[in-house]
Protein backbone atom coordinates (compact mmCIF):
# COMPACT_ATOMS: atom_id res chain seq x y z
CA UNK A 1 0.00 0.00 0.00
CA UNK A 2 1.65 3.23 -1.11
CA UNK A 3 0.88 5.92 1.46
CA UNK A 4 2.63 9.09 2.55
CA UNK A 5 0.66 10.16 5.60
CA UNK A 6 -0.78 7.21 7.49
CA UNK A 7 -1.64 9.05 10.69
CA UNK A 8 -2.21 6.41 13.37
CA UNK A 9 -5.05 7.55 15.63
CA UNK A 10 -6.55 6.07 18.78
CA UNK A 11 -10.14 6.22 17.47
CA UNK A 12 -9.17 4.32 14.34
CA UNK A 13 -7.38 1.68 16.42
CA UNK A 14 -10.53 1.32 18.55
CA UNK A 15 -12.73 0.83 15.47
CA UNK A 16 -10.31 -1.63 13.93
CA UNK A 17 -10.13 -3.67 17.15
CA UNK A 18 -13.95 -3.75 17.28
CA UNK A 19 -14.11 -4.98 13.69
CA UNK A 20 -11.83 -7.95 14.40
CA UNK A 21 -13.70 -8.70 17.63
CA UNK A 22 -10.79 -7.83 19.92
CA UNK A 23 -11.99 -6.60 23.30
CA UNK A 24 -8.48 -6.15 24.76
CA UNK A 25 -8.70 -2.75 26.49
CA UNK A 26 -5.16 -1.84 25.41
CA UNK A 27 -6.71 -0.85 22.07
CA UNK A 28 -9.39 1.44 23.46
CA UNK A 29 -8.77 2.52 27.04
CA UNK A 30 -5.83 4.88 27.55
CA UNK A 31 -6.06 4.61 31.36
CA UNK A 32 -5.75 0.84 31.18
CA UNK A 33 -3.08 0.99 28.50
CA UNK A 34 -0.65 2.96 30.69
CA UNK A 35 -0.67 0.09 33.18
CA UNK A 36 0.42 -2.46 30.54
CA UNK A 37 3.93 -3.38 29.47
CA UNK A 38 3.80 -1.26 26.27
CA UNK A 39 2.74 1.66 28.49
CA UNK A 40 0.08 3.08 26.20
CA UNK A 41 -2.36 2.32 23.43
CA UNK A 42 -0.81 0.26 20.63
CA UNK A 43 -2.25 -1.00 17.35
CA UNK A 44 -3.36 -4.61 16.88
CA UNK A 45 -0.93 -6.75 14.82
CA UNK A 46 -2.80 -6.46 11.51
CA UNK A 47 -3.60 -2.74 11.76
CA UNK A 48 -1.08 -1.82 9.05
CA UNK A 49 -3.66 -3.11 6.57
CA UNK A 50 -5.82 -0.07 7.40
CA UNK A 51 -3.24 2.06 5.59
CA UNK A 52 -5.59 1.47 2.63
CA UNK A 53 -7.61 4.37 4.10
CA UNK A 54 -4.69 6.69 3.35
CA UNK A 55 -3.84 5.43 -0.12
CA UNK A 56 -5.17 8.05 -2.57
CA UNK A 57 -5.24 5.66 -5.50
CA UNK A 58 -6.62 2.64 -3.60
CA UNK A 59 -8.89 0.77 -6.01
CA UNK A 60 -11.20 -0.85 -3.48
CA UNK A 61 -12.81 2.31 -2.10
CA UNK A 62 -15.63 4.17 -3.87
CA UNK A 63 -14.65 7.72 -4.81
CA UNK A 64 -16.99 10.64 -5.53
CA UNK A 65 -17.64 11.15 -9.22
CA UNK A 66 -15.94 7.93 -10.27
CA UNK A 67 -17.47 4.66 -11.43
CA UNK A 68 -17.69 1.98 -8.76
CA UNK A 69 -17.84 -1.73 -9.47
CA UNK A 70 -20.37 -2.60 -6.75
CA UNK A 71 -24.11 -2.77 -7.27
CA UNK A 72 -26.58 0.09 -7.33
CA UNK A 73 -29.67 -0.30 -9.45
CA UNK A 74 -27.68 -2.81 -11.49
CA UNK A 75 -25.22 -5.45 -10.36
CA UNK A 76 -22.50 -3.70 -12.48
CA UNK A 77 -18.96 -5.09 -12.49
CA UNK A 78 -17.07 -2.09 -13.82
CA UNK A 79 -13.39 -3.00 -13.84
CA UNK A 80 -12.03 -1.95 -10.46
CA UNK A 81 -8.70 -0.68 -11.75
CA UNK A 82 -6.82 2.46 -10.99
CA UNK A 83 -5.82 4.52 -14.03
CA UNK A 84 -2.64 3.05 -15.42
CA UNK A 85 -2.86 -0.21 -13.49
CA UNK A 86 -1.80 -3.20 -15.57
CA UNK A 87 -4.54 -5.47 -16.91
CA UNK A 88 -3.45 -8.30 -14.69
CA UNK A 89 -2.95 -6.19 -11.55
CA UNK A 90 -3.13 -9.00 -9.01
CA UNK A 91 -3.56 -7.63 -5.50
CA UNK A 92 -6.89 -6.26 -4.40
CA UNK A 93 -9.19 -6.33 -7.45
CA UNK A 94 -12.64 -7.72 -7.94
CA UNK A 95 -13.79 -11.16 -8.75
CA UNK A 96 -10.76 -13.27 -9.58
CA UNK A 97 -8.14 -11.66 -7.42
CA UNK A 98 -7.59 -12.95 -3.92
CA UNK A 99 -5.21 -12.35 -1.08
CA UNK A 100 -3.01 -15.45 -0.80
CA UNK A 101 -0.51 -14.63 1.94
CA UNK A 102 0.34 -11.84 4.36
CA UNK A 103 3.44 -11.53 6.52
CA UNK A 104 4.36 -8.86 9.03
CA UNK A 105 7.63 -8.22 10.77
CA UNK A 106 7.36 -5.85 13.73
CA UNK A 107 10.36 -3.66 14.48
CA UNK A 108 8.45 -1.76 17.15
CA UNK A 109 4.81 -1.24 18.16
CA UNK A 110 2.65 1.11 16.11
CA UNK A 111 1.13 3.78 18.34
CA UNK A 112 -1.26 6.74 18.09
CA UNK A 113 0.79 9.75 17.01
CA UNK A 114 2.86 7.81 14.49
CA UNK A 115 2.66 9.20 10.99
CA UNK A 116 3.82 6.44 8.70
CA UNK A 117 4.90 6.47 5.11
CA UNK A 118 5.60 3.48 2.96
CA UNK A 119 7.95 2.32 0.30
CA UNK A 120 6.58 -0.47 -1.85
CA UNK A 121 8.82 -2.86 -3.73
CA UNK A 122 7.62 -5.53 -6.09
CA UNK A 123 8.76 -9.00 -5.07
CA UNK A 124 8.74 -12.24 -6.99
CA UNK A 125 5.96 -13.52 -9.22
CA UNK A 126 5.22 -17.11 -10.12
CA UNK A 127 2.54 -19.38 -11.59
CA UNK A 128 0.95 -22.59 -10.45
CA UNK A 129 -1.68 -24.84 -11.93
CA UNK A 130 -4.61 -26.02 -9.85
CA UNK A 131 -7.46 -28.34 -10.84
CA UNK A 132 -9.89 -26.31 -8.78
CA UNK A 133 -8.92 -22.83 -9.96
CA UNK A 134 -7.02 -23.23 -13.25
CA UNK A 135 -3.82 -21.23 -13.71
CA UNK A 136 -2.90 -19.29 -10.59
CA UNK A 137 -0.73 -16.20 -10.97
CA UNK A 138 0.98 -15.14 -7.76
CA UNK A 139 2.78 -11.89 -7.17
CA UNK A 140 4.45 -10.48 -4.13
CA UNK A 141 4.92 -6.94 -2.82
CA UNK A 142 7.05 -5.82 0.09
CA UNK A 143 5.96 -2.68 1.95
CA UNK A 144 8.11 -0.90 4.51
CA UNK A 145 6.34 1.35 6.99
CA UNK A 146 8.53 4.09 8.44
CA UNK A 147 7.69 6.76 11.01
CA UNK A 148 8.24 10.51 10.75
CA UNK A 149 11.83 10.04 11.94
CA UNK A 150 12.52 7.49 9.21
CA UNK A 151 12.63 4.58 11.68
CA UNK A 152 11.39 1.26 10.27
CA UNK A 153 8.24 0.20 12.16
CA UNK A 154 6.79 -2.69 10.15
CA UNK A 155 7.83 -4.67 7.11
CA UNK A 156 4.87 -6.26 5.32
CA UNK A 157 5.01 -8.86 2.57
CA UNK A 158 1.83 -9.54 0.69
CA UNK A 159 1.11 -12.19 -1.93
CA UNK A 160 -1.84 -11.74 -4.25
CA UNK A 161 -3.22 -14.37 -6.59
CA UNK A 162 -5.47 -14.18 -9.62
CA UNK A 163 -7.35 -17.33 -10.52
CA UNK A 164 -8.67 -18.46 -13.88
CA UNK A 165 -11.89 -19.82 -12.36
CA UNK A 166 -14.09 -18.85 -9.44
CA UNK A 167 -12.99 -20.68 -6.32
CA UNK A 168 -15.72 -21.70 -3.92
CA UNK A 169 -13.33 -22.94 -1.30
Amino acid sequence: MAVENFAVEASHIMMFARAIGDSNPIYADADHAVTTEPGGIIAPPTFAQASAQFDESYRLRPKPGQPWMGSGKEATGIAPKAPGAPDDAPVGMGARGLHAEQHFEYHRQMRPGDVLSTTVKPGESWEKHSKRAGTLKFSETVTEYRDQGGELVITARSVGVTTEKVVEG
Binding site: D22, G70, A75, A100, F104
Partner: protein, 140 residues
Protein backbone atom coordinates in the same frame (compact mmCIF):
# COMPACT_ATOMS: atom_id res chain seq x y z
CA UNK B 1 1.17 -11.45 31.23
CA UNK B 2 4.12 -12.45 29.13
CA UNK B 3 4.96 -16.12 28.72
CA UNK B 4 7.96 -17.66 30.41
CA UNK B 5 10.40 -19.83 28.43
CA UNK B 6 10.90 -22.06 31.47
CA UNK B 7 7.22 -23.01 31.45
CA UNK B 8 6.87 -23.78 27.74
CA UNK B 9 7.35 -27.11 25.99
CA UNK B 10 7.48 -27.85 22.29
CA UNK B 11 4.06 -29.18 21.31
CA UNK B 12 2.12 -27.04 23.82
CA UNK B 13 -1.01 -25.62 22.25
CA UNK B 14 -3.31 -22.69 22.93
CA UNK B 15 -6.76 -22.49 21.28
CA UNK B 16 -9.64 -20.03 21.17
CA UNK B 17 -12.92 -19.81 19.34
CA UNK B 18 -12.37 -16.71 17.19
CA UNK B 19 -15.93 -16.17 16.04
CA UNK B 20 -19.19 -18.08 16.22
CA UNK B 21 -21.67 -17.86 13.35
CA UNK B 22 -19.83 -15.06 11.52
CA UNK B 23 -22.25 -12.29 10.63
CA UNK B 24 -22.35 -10.31 7.38
CA UNK B 25 -22.46 -7.18 9.52
CA UNK B 26 -18.98 -7.96 10.82
CA UNK B 27 -17.75 -8.00 7.21
CA UNK B 28 -19.26 -4.53 6.78
CA UNK B 29 -17.61 -3.43 10.03
CA UNK B 30 -14.23 -4.74 8.86
CA UNK B 31 -14.62 -3.08 5.46
CA UNK B 32 -15.21 0.25 7.20
CA UNK B 33 -12.32 -0.06 9.62
CA UNK B 34 -9.76 -1.39 7.16
CA UNK B 35 -10.87 0.63 4.16
CA UNK B 36 -11.16 -2.47 1.95
CA UNK B 37 -14.57 -2.03 0.31
CA UNK B 38 -14.18 -4.78 -2.26
CA UNK B 39 -17.86 -5.58 -2.92
CA UNK B 40 -17.16 -9.33 -2.87
CA UNK B 41 -17.24 -8.99 0.93
CA UNK B 42 -20.43 -6.98 1.39
CA UNK B 43 -22.47 -6.73 -1.81
CA UNK B 44 -24.68 -9.78 -2.35
CA UNK B 45 -25.93 -8.64 -5.76
CA UNK B 46 -22.43 -7.98 -7.10
CA UNK B 47 -20.88 -11.12 -5.67
CA UNK B 48 -23.57 -13.50 -6.91
CA UNK B 49 -24.44 -11.92 -10.28
CA UNK B 50 -21.07 -10.52 -11.37
CA UNK B 51 -18.33 -12.28 -9.44
CA UNK B 52 -20.09 -15.65 -9.53
CA UNK B 53 -19.74 -16.71 -5.90
CA UNK B 54 -22.57 -18.24 -3.86
CA UNK B 55 -22.55 -15.32 -1.40
CA UNK B 56 -20.22 -12.76 0.16
CA UNK B 57 -17.10 -14.00 1.93
CA UNK B 58 -14.78 -12.63 4.59
CA UNK B 59 -11.71 -10.53 3.90
CA UNK B 60 -8.65 -12.73 4.35
CA UNK B 61 -7.32 -9.98 6.56
CA UNK B 62 -10.33 -10.29 8.87
CA UNK B 63 -9.45 -13.96 9.42
CA UNK B 64 -5.83 -12.93 10.01
CA UNK B 65 -6.99 -10.17 12.36
CA UNK B 66 -9.15 -12.58 14.37
CA UNK B 67 -6.27 -15.08 14.53
CA UNK B 68 -4.13 -12.20 15.80
CA UNK B 69 -6.53 -11.82 18.75
CA UNK B 70 -5.73 -15.35 19.89
CA UNK B 71 -2.06 -14.70 19.38
CA UNK B 72 -1.84 -11.51 21.43
CA UNK B 73 -4.08 -13.05 24.10
CA UNK B 74 -1.50 -15.87 24.34
CA UNK B 75 1.85 -14.06 24.06
CA UNK B 76 0.86 -10.76 25.67
CA UNK B 77 0.63 -7.15 24.53
CA UNK B 78 3.39 -5.86 22.31
CA UNK B 79 5.38 -9.11 22.26
CA UNK B 80 4.95 -10.24 18.65
CA UNK B 81 7.94 -9.85 16.37
CA UNK B 82 6.61 -11.77 13.35
CA UNK B 83 3.20 -12.89 12.15
CA UNK B 84 2.67 -14.45 8.74
CA UNK B 85 -0.20 -16.40 7.23
CA UNK B 86 -1.48 -18.12 4.15
CA UNK B 87 -5.19 -17.99 3.32
CA UNK B 88 -6.02 -21.57 2.38
CA UNK B 89 -9.82 -21.57 2.17
CA UNK B 90 -12.53 -18.96 2.11
CA UNK B 91 -14.51 -17.95 5.17
CA UNK B 92 -18.26 -17.52 4.74
CA UNK B 93 -21.02 -15.92 6.82
CA UNK B 94 -22.23 -18.45 9.35
CA UNK B 95 -18.78 -19.95 9.85
CA UNK B 96 -17.44 -20.64 13.32
CA UNK B 97 -13.66 -20.34 13.47
CA UNK B 98 -11.26 -21.83 15.98
CA UNK B 99 -7.60 -20.86 16.06
CA UNK B 100 -4.72 -22.83 17.53
CA UNK B 101 -1.14 -21.80 18.21
CA UNK B 102 1.35 -24.63 18.72
CA UNK B 103 4.80 -24.20 20.23
CA UNK B 104 7.42 -25.14 17.64
CA UNK B 105 10.55 -23.83 19.32
CA UNK B 106 11.69 -21.92 22.38
CA UNK B 107 15.08 -20.34 21.70
CA UNK B 108 17.55 -17.70 22.77
CA UNK B 109 18.93 -15.07 20.43
CA UNK B 110 21.28 -12.25 21.49
CA UNK B 111 20.39 -12.92 25.12
CA UNK B 112 16.64 -12.65 24.50
CA UNK B 113 14.11 -15.48 24.61
CA UNK B 114 11.86 -16.13 21.63
CA UNK B 115 8.93 -18.40 20.98
CA UNK B 116 8.11 -19.75 17.50
CA UNK B 117 4.52 -20.78 16.91
CA UNK B 118 2.66 -22.60 14.20
CA UNK B 119 -0.84 -21.28 13.60
CA UNK B 120 -3.91 -23.01 12.25
CA UNK B 121 -7.42 -21.63 12.05
CA UNK B 122 -10.19 -24.05 11.10
CA UNK B 123 -13.89 -23.70 10.40
CA UNK B 124 -16.78 -25.73 11.87
CA UNK B 125 -16.01 -28.59 9.47
CA UNK B 126 -12.44 -28.71 10.79
CA UNK B 127 -11.22 -27.45 7.39
CA UNK B 128 -8.22 -25.14 7.68
CA UNK B 129 -8.95 -21.60 6.45
CA UNK B 130 -5.63 -20.11 7.53
CA UNK B 131 -2.20 -21.51 8.32
CA UNK B 132 0.81 -19.55 9.45
CA UNK B 133 3.65 -18.84 11.81
CA UNK B 134 4.44 -16.29 14.46
CA UNK B 135 7.36 -15.34 16.66
CA UNK B 136 7.14 -13.58 20.00
CA UNK B 137 9.62 -12.30 22.53
CA UNK B 138 9.06 -14.04 25.84
CA UNK B 139 10.51 -13.92 29.35
CA UNK B 140 13.22 -16.29 30.55
Amino acid sequence: MALSAAKLTVGDTYSEVLVEDLKRTQLVQYAGASGDYNPVHTDEKFVTEIAGYPTVFAHGMLTMGMTGVLLTNYVGDGRLTKFGVRFVNQVWPGDTLTGTAEVIEVREEDGLQFLDLKLTTVNQHDTPVLTGNATARIDA
